[in-house]
Symmetry: C2
Subunit: 106 residues, 2 copies
Amino acid sequence: MHHDDQLAELSKALAHPARLRIVRLLQATPGCIGGDIVGAVGLAQSTVSEHLRILKAAGIISGEIDGPRVCYALNPDALAPLAEFIASLTALPGDVCCVPTRKETP
Amino acid sequence: MHHDDQLAELSKALAHPARLRIVRLLQATPGCIGGDIVGAVGLAQSTVSEHLRILKAAGIISGEIDGPRVCYALNPDALAPLAEFIASLTALPGDVCCVPTRKETP
DNA sequence: CCATTTTATCGTTTATCGACGATAAACGGT
DNA sequence: ACCGTTTATCGTCGATAAACGATAAAATGG
């Protein structure tokens, strides 16, 4: 897989308010919250399950089976490539562009 | 707009290899590259134009009209919220979860 | 061993995305 | 004033994503 494809995968996994919500929840909750996630995001159980699957596929979270329920935990390291990419952009000032400038595109 | 919505917008704008490619190009090129972007990404001109539009809508790039062509420049600051969000996740170690662990979900 | 609880999967529907070609719009140069 | 160049927009198509309800699977507790 190309490098940009991996970054695109990570970005896509974060590109949904419900999934960001889930990530925040997992970050805020020290222990394990089971299906409390479903109640918190306000979507159907099956929909939340799908969002969890997407996050897990991207490596952003991991799930451990704990009896009948599943305990999800955050994997902040998975986002390191994305963080590095963004940091690399801020590194050098991508300053001036060509000629004197005319007007802004609408 | 909710905070998560803004982050989702930014993530979505990055969630495509072609757009990441464009961002890299703009970062690497000190001056202005015009429609060289089209040749570099290997997609149709209209498709590239659409990707540029999406990146501009997210504030990640800006376009200045320079005669018949448009000069695009990178806006690394636009990604600061996303960078901060990711950094905040790595901050506290989101470590152990509930009970001893049984097995990994397939 | 059965009932309950919790999560995952399936099937469907609707909306959004990504790509393209064709066309329009804006501008510089001859 | 036209002509070539460059970019944006439009319309369309197939593919993917998002949401839901219904159903199945797994494991605990009675």
